[in-house]
């Protein structure tokens, strides 16, 4: 027992003092957090870093852009996205040539209006003359005004054609210029995208969204909601409904997402209930593989430099293996305690909100620790057994990589737990030893598994650990003195079934 404790302490302290432990405890989590959080920041909540500009282009004065802008703010109130989105109406920066053209159109309009007025005046005058009693001057007057009327009408019709032609030309040019300007804003990245409102198409429910980056098309849901509201408002107005009623009916619905937690119910929070457990699982895995990795490389080094022979002349195989597993297991637990302490510090400094780790209550923390210990003992015994078979670092390194990849497989399957934490498939997979620690840690805050599942999974893990330690002991006893050659599968099998 004393030798076991001495080995435990030695393994703990020598790895605790190593750079590898410092890196895996303090640097790896930062890198890991970066890998997890940076894409999340960009994909899920891009507005947190910068204000995103959205534009709206319209070619008349119906004010639809203004309406959409107002509804955009109202409809998305409470969401995290709108405060970081700005919605602006795009006005083309008209050139002097364009201004002259518009002035010309305005002049033509003025001319047309004055001709129209003149025409109407002549018509009125003729009407007045016509209504007077017949006299010698009446006929002459009617004839004279008729000629005037015809001339003025011709002049007005010509002016109208000229005006419409000029206006059409100006409008087309202005439309082209406006869109060119809007596209320019996209190209220089001042706009993420813009809505193109054509009044006629808008009334039919058709709106165009123009953007440069593909990712922007995935993020226009808040804008779509606002446009939808404006279109519905417009249609209801056409049906003769009161504006205030329409706005009341179109108030956004507040969805409260309540998740069943056994006998309790809790409001669902993405970070608390979804991302949190995954992060905990990943951290526990970092710890398991840091410790198991130390164990693997430690055994390999001791075998390579023959220290193992010296150790085995002082203690037996079981004491040595057990001391190593225990020492590095304690190191893993210590690492978790450091992380837990750092988390509390982050809460203390208001970097983290305490509610965000509310799933780490005492019961869950104890369950996490239980499955960490079970998972560690299971993987550590496999690693120590296999590590003892090799004396060549290169061969062992390849196998180590392969083992790590296999061990990360449960995390890949974790998506099943996230979708349906208590489905039959997930429950069955929870009882498969390599998957048990990951699945049960994930299921605990997500699905509140029945007590029977805890009992069965713990029982299965305990039996699996006993079996794996038994075989690891056999491999270690035979493998620790096996030098200079790569063991073949046949030999490993022979060791396992006790023929060697």
């Amino acid at each position: 027992m004393k030798s076991f404790l001495i080995i435990t302490w030695w393994e703990f302290i020598r790895h605790f003092k190593s750079w590898s432990f410092l890196i895996s405890t303090f640097v790896s989590p930062v890198i890991f957090a970066g890998i997890v959080l940076i894409p999340t920041l960009f994909l899920e909540d891009p507005g947190q870093n910068r204000v995103r500009m959205l534009g709206c282009v319209e070619f008349d004065t119906t004010g639809l852009c203004q309406g959409i802008q107002e509804r955009f703010v109202d409809v998305n109130a409470g969401s995290t996205i709108p405060p970081f989105m700005r919605f602006i109406t795009i006005k083309a920066d008209t050139t002097p040539a364009m201004r002259i053209r518009f002035e010309n159109v305005a002049g033509l309009k003025k001319d047309l209006d004055s001709l129209e007025d003149a025409y109407n005046t002549i018509k009125e005058r003729r009407k007045f003359v016509f209504q007077k009693p017949k006299s010698t001057g009446r006929e002459a007057s009617l004839r004279t005004t008729y000629d005037e009327l015809i001339q003025t009408r011709e002049a007005r019709d010509l002016a109208q054609i000229e005006y419409q032609h000029a206006k059409l030309q100006a409008d087309s040019l202005w439309r082209i210029e406006t869109m060119r300007y809007a596209d320019h804003l996209l190209n220089i990245l001042q706009l993420e995208g813009y809505l193109l409102i054509d009044t006629q198409e808008f009334s039919q429910g058709i709106v165009e969204f123009h953007s440069l980056l593909p990712s922007n098309f995935l993020e226009i849901e808040p804008l779509k909601r606002a446009v939808q509201v404006v279109i519905v408002e417009q249609r209801l107005k056409q049906e003769g409904l009161r504006v205030d009623k329409i706005q009341e009916w179109l108030e956004p619905v507040l969805f409260r997402e309540i998740q069943l937690q056994g006998d309790d119910k809790e409001e669902f929070d993405f970070i608390i209930n979804y991302l949190g457990p995954i992060i905990v699982v990943l951290f526990l895995f970092i710890s398991i593989f840091t410790s198991s990795g130390f164990l693997f490389s430690g055994v390999l080094k001791e075998k390579t430099n023959r220290v193992i022979e010296l150790l085995l002349s002082s203690v037996n195989h079981y004491q040595l293996v057990a001391g190593k597993i225990m020492g590095l297991g304690l190191l893993g637990i210590f690492q978790i305690i450091i992380w837990y302490g750092l988390t509390l510090l982050l809460i203390g400094f208001n970097v983290l909100n305490a509610s965000q780790i509310s799933f780490l209550n005492l019961t869950n923390a104890c369950l996490f620790l239980l499955y960490f210990v079970l998972g560690y003992l299971y993987f550590a015994s496999i690693f120590v057994g296999i590590g003892s078979l090799f004396s060549n670092e290169e061969d062992a390194h390849h196998l180590n990589q392969f083992m790590r990849m296999l061990s990360i497989f449960p995390i890949v399957l974790a998506v099943l737990v996230l979708q349906t934490p208590n489905s039959l498939l997930v429950r069955i997979l929870s009882f498969v030893p390599p998957l048990t620690p990951t699945f049960m840690i994930l299921r605990t805050p997500l699905g509140n598994p029945p007590p029977l599942d805890y009992l069965i999974s713990t029982g299965i893990m305990v039996v699996s650990i006993i079996i794996s330690i038994f075989f690891a002991g056999k491999l270690f006893r035979a493998g620790s003195l096996l030098y200079g050659k790569k063991p073949r599968l046949k030999e490993i099998f022979a060791i396992l079934i006790g023929r060697k």
């Binding site: 001495i6 430099n305 003195l481």
Partner: protein, 299 residues
């Protein structure tokens, strides 16, 4: 503590590595376990240390099988040296001392004492990896002595040491023998074994082919051979009956005699026949015995 190896057998992959091997190592004696590569020396040492278990036969220590107390009285110097390279000399010695059931304090005291006696005290805080190869060899030897063991098992103890340190190590081994320790050395260096060991066991293919003190072995390995030096041509000696073969090596003449040849009479005849500067009955060295024995087995 007397170590008795009694008809032990060990087989790997259906190939016998040690067969019916028996010998005894007595306190105050140094036993040399000799043999060619693959003879089963290291396997035998590992069985004595209980790292491997014999398939049959038994190993006793003062008539008792190995137990924790006995294990703590054995010091082991493995053939291929290696210690924790990143850790200080003191830490490493403390760790192995503690594993041998020494208290922390006692372990510390013994470490300082041993390092001082081997003039390594200045390196106490140095990482093992910073020491020269020879220093690491010495350190490994000290690790095997930290708990003042009753039994010392050493595999090629002189390997890699310079002559001065070989001499120092040998003196230490002698002093341990004189203190009554039981010492077992496995070595290839026969000249070193000849000067260090009191008793020899030569094993080949797992079997003891020869054992005893150097004198006993020489007696058993008695060769009818006369060595002489002369300025004359040795062919003249062929006329003397019982001289089977004449061999000349570096101006030294080896005369091989028949099995029952009367050596003294032949020597008289040689002296009368030619003028000699030296004549003696040949005493085979351990090396000669080793080579000859292995060759004979091969035949």
């Amino acid at each position: 503590m007397r170590v008795h190896i009694d008809k032990i057998n060990k087989t790997f992959k259906e190939k016998p590595v040690v067969s019916h091997l028996s010998f005894t190592v007595h306190p105050g004696r140094i036993l040399g376990l000799l043999g060619p590569n693959g003879a089963g020396k290291t396997t035998t040492l590992r069985m004595i240390l209980d790292i491997l278990r014999p398939d049959s036969g038994k190993i006793t220590f003062d008539d008792k099988p190995i137990n924790k107390n006995i294990r703590n009285q054995i010091g082991y110097l493995p053939e291929e040296r290696g210690l924790y390279q990143k850790y200080s000399v003191m830490d490493v010695m403390l760790y192995f001392g503690r594993l041998k059931n020494l208290s922390r304090r006692k372990s510390h005291v013994e470490t300082v004492r041993l390092l001082d006696s081997f003039e390594m005290i200045d390196y106490m805080e140095e990482p093992v990896g910073h020491l020269s190869r020879g220093m690491q060899q010495k350190l490994q030897f000290l690790v095997s002595l930290i708990h003042n063991p009753e039994i010392l098992v050493m595999d090629e103890p002189m390997w890699g040491l310079d002559p001065i340190n070989q001499e120092r190590l040998q003196q230490k081994i002698f002093s341990l023998r004189d203190e009554g320790k039981t010492i077992l050395i496995s070595t290839h260096q026969l000249a070193e074994a000849e000067t260090t060991c009191d008793y020899f066991v030569l094993i080949n293919q797992g079997k003891a082919v020869l054992q005893g003190s150097l004198e006993q072995i020489r007696k058993n390995f008695y060769q009818n051979m006369i060595v002489l030096e002369t300025s004359q041509k040795p062919e003249i000696l062929k006329k003397i009956p019982s001289i089977r073969k004449i061999d000349v090596q570096n101006s030294v003449i080896y005369l091989y005699l028949d099995g029952n040849a009367p050596i003294r009479q032949i020597m008289q005849e040689i002296i009368q026949t030619i003028e000699i500067s030296r004549i003696e009955i040949h005493k085979p060295s351990l090396h000669d015995i080793f080579i000859q024995t292995i060759k004979n087995i091969g035949k």
